[in-house]
């Protein structure tokens, strides 16, 4: 079992107004309230799917580690950067 450090136990939750469209290898998040479009890479989409208000960032990081065998610190940096980007774009909020 991975002995994960506590990163941030608040849980990110997708803004319900925002929707994801996946087509032709492109992943686009559209925010109608701001009229904003965000193009996402594969990892960002996976993290987006996990922003259900119930999953903590540390759980996301552990799962990516389990799948990729990458070091915790590397994955932590990527996941937290993605969540920061979502936060700045206003497409998520935080529970807890």
């Amino acid at each position: 079992m991975i002995d994960a450090p506590l990163v941030d136990e608040r849980r990110p939750v997708r803004n319900p107004e925002v929707w994801l469209r996946q087509a032709g290898g492109e992943n686009v998040v559209y925010d109608p309230a701001r009229g904003a479009v965000h193009v996402m890479n594969t990892t960002a989409v996976a993290i987006w799917v996990l922003c259900d208000g119930d999953t903590a960032p540390s759980e996301m990081i552990e799962a990516v580690c389990a799948l990729s065998a990458l070091p915790y610190e590397v994955v932590e940096e990527d996941v937290m950067r993605i969540l920061d980007d979502f936060d700045e774009a206003g497409v998520i909020s935080w529970n807890g």
């Binding site: 079992m1 996946q22 999953t55 389990a66 799948l67």
Partner: protein, 229 residues
Amino acid sequence: MTDQDAPPIRVLLADGQSLFRDAMKVVLETRADFEVVAEAADGMHAVEEAVRTDADLALVDADLPNGDGVRTTRLIAERLPECRILFLSQHEDDVALISSLEAGATGFVTKESPIGDLIEMARRVHRGETTIPPQMLGTLLASLIRSKRQHDEALRRLARLTKREREVLALLARGADNEGIAQPLVISPETARTHVQNVLGKLGVHSRLEAAAFVIQNGLVDELAGAGV
């Protein structure tokens, strides 16, 4: 040895449709790094052929007759652990993705993929990489998180048991009755029964069968192996 000098990847094609097998064989054999060493139209034959030819890579279809693709994958993984398995599904099917990876596949691809993608995924799976369609990554991560939560919860419940109760649970998981529990622990059957009731209560299960299932489904057999019975 360079890649060009490396022996070809020895492939088993397991698919119920001969047209698909023939097409894949033609395509793979135009590549110098693949050699199709066996074909199978059903699950049991696929397992036999994988073992007989000692295949490096098995392409296993989800809808194989006579032992579906997941069961076939599990059997090949058990009997030929060195063989990498790329699972072929008609569609992006979340259940098939999780089931196939749990069974031992390390790659998942849909038959809607371009042939070039399928061949590249076959190479990557043979190299030992885990490959799935990128758009299914979120589903897979969510499943991993669910499994870990379930396992953590099981460990929390297990931690409520005393050392003696863990010994009792280990015996329960092997199907022992009160007598079968009492004898190795050198206690009376009545005491064994009391321990069983305590174990059921602490685990929050309602029967001995449920307690045994709790151990097996949560992968706690090894955890209890140190219980000393």
